[in-house]
Each structure stands twice: as structure tokens, then as C-alpha cells.
């Protein structure tokens, strides 16, 4: 369970995020949509304690994230390329994350073997450093790395951007499978309305930092969102 209370973030006296109350139950697939500057990445950065809230706080499984670091072992995230280490090969990066999360090489290899299709032969054994991979392939590496070490909370900022169509479809399957087990809370943000409506049980629309819609996904959701953003 993740809760945010009276959460605000103010830059130069402009509130970029202002959430009164938000609860995300364990095991939910949670989608965050909104235009640029709506506060999606700000919210994720606050969840990861990368920036300090101006007021209020976020609780992640009972841990207040800006006070204790105890949320780190069960939380994984891929926000942008600053979560990749450019001078490592994909394998080295996976093993590095694995070691930080208490997984040995064999554990990581086993996990990776499940993502053969997703990688499409472009990630493992490539004799390339991550910095030399294409944006899409970098994203694949970052996303899969978040699955290492069985985290309970996974945060993915715009995971569908830069992926080719085949990989987008595979990623949707992966996220749906994860959520089906009802143990992992997945937080996803996206600019692609059809993707989020497909993988998320619940969608929250942010506009200028405030929650303007909170929808349990149904057959009408996509239409509703299109109407909202088409105004």
C-alpha cells in the first residue's frame, strides 16, 4: 500500500504537484497520465526520495520515504537513462543490480532467460556498452533490471516510449502477467492512452500537479480519456 497525504512540491512559488490524498493498494496496476509538466515524473521522483516534498509525505508499505531508507529493498524503478550505467554491458549491469539486491549471477541469469523474446536478441551478448545501444534497447535493459530481486513496487516512467511495436505488445503482456499475481504494485506513466488503459486497472489523470480524474479502468475509459485530453 502506497499513500500520499497533503503532498506538494513547489518550485519558485509555483506548485508543480499538489495531491491531497492518494492511496494505491498493494498489487494494483496504477497508471498515471497527463500532459508534459503535469507532475508525473515529479511524483515518481518523490516516491524514490530523489527530491524533497515541500509539504506532506509519501508512505510506501508503512515506510515514510523521506525519513527512512527501508523502502529501497522492495522498490525498483526505471525513470530515465540516468538509471543506466553507460560504460557497462547489459549483462554487467544486470549482475550489478542483482548484487545490490542480493541476487547472484545464477539467479539473474534465470530471470533473464524469461525475457528472451522481449530482448529480441539485441541485448545479451552484444559486445556493446549500454551507452552505445539505441534508445529503445536501453529502455528494455532498464525495464528488465527493475524486475531483478522480486521487488514489491515497480515504478516505470513512460516505459512504452521509444519501443518498437512488437516490444510494446510484449511489454504489455509482461506487465499484465506481473499484476495477475496480485503481489506486485506496478506504477506506470504514459503518454499513450491506449497502452495504459490496456495494462492498468486504475488510471489517475494529473493536470498541473493536481489529480483531476481517478478512474477504475473499464471499456469506456479510453473514450473518456480521449474526450478529456481532446478538449
Amino acid at each position: 500500500m502506497i499513500t500520499a497525504h497533503n503532498l506538494t512540491k513547489v518550485y519558485n512559488s509555483v506548485a508543480v504537484l499538489n495531491i491531497d490524498n492518494l492511496e494505491i493498494p498493494k498489487g494494483q496496476s496504477f497508471g498515471l497520465v497527463g500532459n508534459n509538466g503535469a507532475g508525473k515524473t515529479t511524483f515518481f521522483s518523490l516516491m524514490l526520495d530523489l527530491i524533497q516534498p515541500s509539504s506532506g509525505c509519501i508512505n510506501n508499505n508503512g515506510v515514510q520515504v523521506d525519513l527512512s531508507e527501508a523502502w529501497k529493498p522492495f522498490t525498483a524503478a526505471f525513470i530515465d537513462e540516468s538509471f543506466l550505467i553507460g560504460y557497462l554491458t547489459a549483462e554487467e549491469y544486470f549482475y550489478f543490480i542483482g548484487e545490490l539486491r542480493g541476487r547472484n549471477k545464477a539467479d539473474v541469469d534465470q530471470l533473464l532467460s524469461g525475457f528472451k523474446d522481449f530482448f529480441h536478441g539485441e541485448i545479451l551478448g552484444q559486445k556493446k556498452y549500454l551507452r552505445d545501444l539505441s534508445k529503445g534497447n536501453q529502455k528494455k535493459v532498464g525495464i528488465v533490471a527493475t524486475f531483478i530481486g522480486d521487488p514489491e513496487v515497480i515504478i516505470l516512467d513512460e516505459p512504452f516510449a521509444n519501443l518498437d511495436p512488437t516490444t510494446q505488445i510484449r511489454l504489455k503482456t509482461i506487465i499484465k502477467d506481473l499484476v495477475a499475481k496480485k503481489e506486485v504494485t506496478v506504477l506506470v506513466s504514459s503518454h499513450d492512452l491506449s497502452h495504459v488503459t490496456e495494462v492498468c486497472e486504475r488510471i489517475v489523470v494529473l493536470h498541473k500537479g493536481e489529480v483531476v480524474k481517478d478512474i477504475q479502468t473499464s471499456a469506456q475509459t479510453l473514450k473518456e480519456l480521449e474526450v478529456f485530453f481532446g478538449r
Binding site: 524514490l48 529501497k72 522498490t75 540516468s82 560504460y87 550489478f96 559486445k127
Partner: protein
């Protein structure tokens, strides 16, 4: 303001050193009866030219990086290439030579050398150094070729030192002929024009994203360093740091600089420069010789990890182990430098003692201070380029300046205290004792540094978000 003054002083210092060499070299050689100054200089010019090429290869920025954005603009290709190549002419690596060659030439003329000859020699040398500029552009990224050349000249240098084979016998006549037959300078200029033309044509013909403008991609190899696994999480970080150093241009430069630091002591310990004769300077030199890596690498912790700091901060990481890994690297490097510097024994055990004592102080005190100072620097580092490798104005803030005092001045004080009150040996003992004491309080100090890193976390993250 204080920053600017410091930078200006540094620039003036180097200019004065070069100027001093240019003016002083002639009289110095004459005084020591080493023969004709011009001929002696000519003898070693071949090494000067190669060393220049080496430095350029390592440090000079390539023009190609600026071309990419110009491709899409309505500018003729000739102009773009001409502009990019022309810009390199004004590089520091070109005009800095003037500080030596201009005064040296003037002194030659004053001392009765044929004016025409000196002008020929001077122009010839100028052309050759500019040739280096273009050779560097042409051979850029051809590591194999380049290292063969460097290895060849290192071997030649060693051969000459031991008297097996003297390359200068063959090269000196050329440099001498620039003076003897000034028209020879034209040959150098023709070579320069040929090089300019060929680099111009090369770039013009390769001005495509997948040809001349393609970034260099190295063939990567996954490396395990399994032997480090026994150190647990610390080993994990060490593995990463070793890869960081080995695979990035910027960090390699830090290592190369630390090798230069080893030789820096020659100024102090051999009595070459009178101003540095005082006994206290020995400690100063000792600290630099053993601590080159500590200073060039350590002061930028945690900036080395700036490009992926958000990852580090959201992973399950203890600062203690993260810092310990950097600390061990610095300690190991300090020990290696100290061993490499053992050639100072040649100048007497007393001299080497200064290096040893400096190493103890570096490990015991300075290693903490650089980590501490690093928390305040907050300059994001672009690992793939050498830009700002020689410091950045943000690196000179009040806090880091304050921290250099105990790094360099304090040990001098300790030594002076022992040296003048008791005896020179007591001076060494005092400095070493400070180091040992610092070492003993490692856990306590690490705790303090950890707190500072935690306190600075958000500011550091925000600073690293700015593009380097």
C-alpha cells in the same frame, strides 16, 4: 571573484614557467658548458615534437563534435569544414609553444646567431607543431597506430639513455638544417599545407553521420572480476569503479595525470629549482608524488557517478560501502604510486622518506578530506570527454578551498614543527603520526562523511541533473 583570481594566477604561472624556459634555456645550457644551445635543443626536439603529439592525442578536443549540428543548416560543406579545422588552429596546444619558441629565438638572435637562420628555424618549428595539430586530427581514434608510435619512441628514448642507439643523430641534422639552410623551412610549410589539404578533403568526403562523424564505439567485453566477489557489496562497487576507470576517457586522464604527479617531485627533490630547496617543501613533494591519483580522482567523488546518481540513490545502497570502495581505490593507488616512486631512492633515502611519509599522510588524512570535499563539488562529469579535466570553476568554491588547506598546508606545518623544534626525523615522524592517527579513526570519520553525503543528497541530485 576569488575564483577568477585563482585561475588567472594559474595561467600566469604556467606562462611564466614557459617564458622562463624560453629565455633561460640558452644561458642555462651555456653556463653548464653543454655545447651549442641551439644544437642541444635541436638534438632533443624530436622528443619534444612527439611528446606534443602525444599530449594532443590525449587531451586536444576534436573538431568533429561541433560539426554535427551544422549539417542540417544551410551552410556550404566547405565552409563548415574550413571553420571547424580553422578553429583548431587557435587551440591552446598551438599557441602555448610560442611562449617557449619566441623568447628562445629572440635570445638566439641577441647572442649573435644569424637572423635569417633563426627565422627559418623558428618558422620551420612553427610549421611542424601545426603539422602535429593536423596529424592529430587525421589519426584521431586510431589507437593501434598511435600506441605503436609512442611505444617506438619510448624504446628509442631508453636506447638513447643507455647508449645503444641514438635516434637524435639522424633527426638533429634536420632541425639544424632549418637554421643552416633557412629555405628548408619551406619543406615544413609544404608538409603543413599538404596535411591541411588532406584533412580538409578527408572531412569533406566523410561528412556523413555514419562515416567521419560517427562516434567511436568500442567493442565491449563483459568482465566478471570474480575475485572481488569475496568482498561482498564492497567488491560489487570496486568492480564497478574499476570498469569506470578503465572504460572512460575522462577517468583514464585522471590516471595519466597521477603518473605525471609522480615525476612532479623532480622539481623539488633534485634541487633543480632553488625556490624549492627548503626542507619543508620535501613533504609537499612527497604528498603530491604519492597522492596524484588521490587528488585527481578522489576530489571528484561522487561526481564520477553523476550520470547515474539517481540510480545509486534509489538502489539498496549503504553510503558506507559506496565510499569505502572509492577509499580503497585511492589507498591502493597511493601505495602503487609510492612503489613506482621508489626511483627517488636514487636521490637518497631521505628523499624517498618524504614520499613514504607523504603516502602515510595521504592514506590517513587526505583520503578522507578529498571524499569530504567531493560532497561539495557537485560538478556533473561527462565521462566520455576531457572537457574541464583541468578543473572547473565550480570546483573552486569556498568550502573546497578551505579543505585544501589541511590537505597541503597542515602536513607542512607538522613537519616544520618537528624539523625546527627537534630534528628532521622528528618532522617526518610528526607527519606520519598524523596519518596513523587519522587511519585509526577511520570508522568515526566515515560516519561523519556519510552524514554529509546524506545531507547534501538532494542538492547533489539537482546539480547533476544540469547537463555537464
Amino acid at each position: 571573484m576569488a575564483i577568477k583570481i585563482a585561475m588567472i594566477f594559474a595561467a600566469i604561472y604556467f606562462m611564466l614557467v614557459f617564458l622562463g624556459l624560453g629565455i633561460g634555456a640558452y644561458y642555462f645550457i651555456e653556463q653548464n658548458n653543454w655545447g651549442d644551445p641551439l644544437q642541444l635543443v635541436n638534438k632533443f626536439l624530436v622528443y619534444y615534437v612527439v611528446a606534443d603529439l602525444y599530449l594532443r592525442y590525449m587531451l586536444q578536443k576534436m573538431p568533429v563534435t561541433n560539426i554535427r549540428p551544422l549539417l542540417y543548416l544551410p551552410i556550404k560543406k566547405d565552409k563548415v569544414v574550413g571553420y571547424s579545422l580553422g578553429k583548431t588552429m587557435f587551440s591552446f596546444f598551438n599557441w602555448s609553444h610560442a611562449f617557449f619558441f619566441v623568447p628562445f629565438s629572440v635570445v638566439l638572435v641577441i647572442n649573435g646567431y644569424a637572423t635569417v637562420g633563426v627565422i627559418g628555424w623558428h618558422l620551420g618549428m612553427m610549421a611542424l607543431l601545426f603539422c602535429n595539430n593536423f596529424i592529430n586530427i587525421l589519426v584521431n581514434n586510431k589507437d593501434g597506430l598511435f600506441y605503436v608510435l609512442i611505444a617506438l619512441f619510448s624504446v628509442l628514448g631508453i636506447c638513447q639513455y643507455y647508449g645503444f642507439f641514438d635516434i637524435t643523430v639522424f633527426t638533429a641534422p634536420f632541425f639544424n638544417s632549418l637554421y643552416g639552410q633557412p629555405w628548408m623551412a619551406f619543406l615544413a610549410w609544404i608538409l603543413l599545407i599538404a596535411l591541411i589539404t588532406s584533412s580538409f578533403l578527408y572531412f569533406k568526403n566523410h561528412m556523413y553521420l555514419d562515416a567521419g562523424l560517427a562516434g567511436k564505439t568500442l567493442v565491449a567485453k563483459t568482465e566478471d572480476y570474480m575475485w572481488l566477489n569475496r568482498f561482498g557489496i564492497l567488491g560489487t562497487f570496486l568492480k564497478n569503479d574499476i570498469k569506470l576507470i578503465r572504460r572512460n576517457k575522462r577517468s583514464k586522464t585522471a590516471v595519466i595525470m597521477s603518473v605525471f604527479f609522480i615525476f612532479y617531485g623532480l622539481f623539488f627533490l633534485t634541487g633543480g629549482i632553488e625556490a624549492y630547496e627548503g626542507p619543508v617543501w620535501k613533504i609537499f613533494a612527497g604528498i603530491f608524488i604519492s597522492g596524484g591519483f588521490l587528488f585527481s580522482f578522489g576530489q571528484f567523488v561522487p561526481s564520477w557517478d553523476s550520470s547515474y546518481y539517481p540510480l545509486m540513490m534509489s538502489q539498496n545502497i549503504q553510503y558506507k560501502e559506496y565510499l569505502a570502495s572509492k577509499w580503497y581505490l585511492m589507498v591502493i593507488a597511493t601505495l602503487v604510486s609510492t612503489i613506482l616512486a621508489s626511483f627517488y631512492i636514487y636521490f637518497g633515502w631521505d628523499t624517498y622518506m618524504a614520499v613514504l611519509v607523504g603516502a602515510v599522510y595521504n592514506i590517513g588524512v587526505n583520503s578522507y578530506l578529498v571524499l569530504w570535499g567531493g560532497a561539495y563539488i557537485k560538478t556533473p562529469i561527462d565521462l566520455s570527454s576531457n572537457k574541464k579535466a583541468f578543473g572547473d570553476k565550480q570546483a573552486f568554491n569556498a568550502k573546497t578551498l578551505m579543505l585544501t588547506l589541511p590537505k597541503l598546508i597542515l602536513p607542512l606545518g607538522f613537519y616544520a614543527l618537528g624539523h625546527y623544534w627537534v630534528s628532521p626525523s622528528a618532522g617526518y615522524l610528526f607527519v606520519a603520526l598524523a596519518g596513523v592517527l587519522g587511519f585509526a579513526f577511520k570508522n568515526k570519520v566515515f560516519g561523519l562523511i556519510e552524514e554529509i553525503y546524506k545531507k547534501e543528497k538532494y542538492k547533489t541530485l539537482a546539480a547533476y541533473k544540469q547537463k555537464p
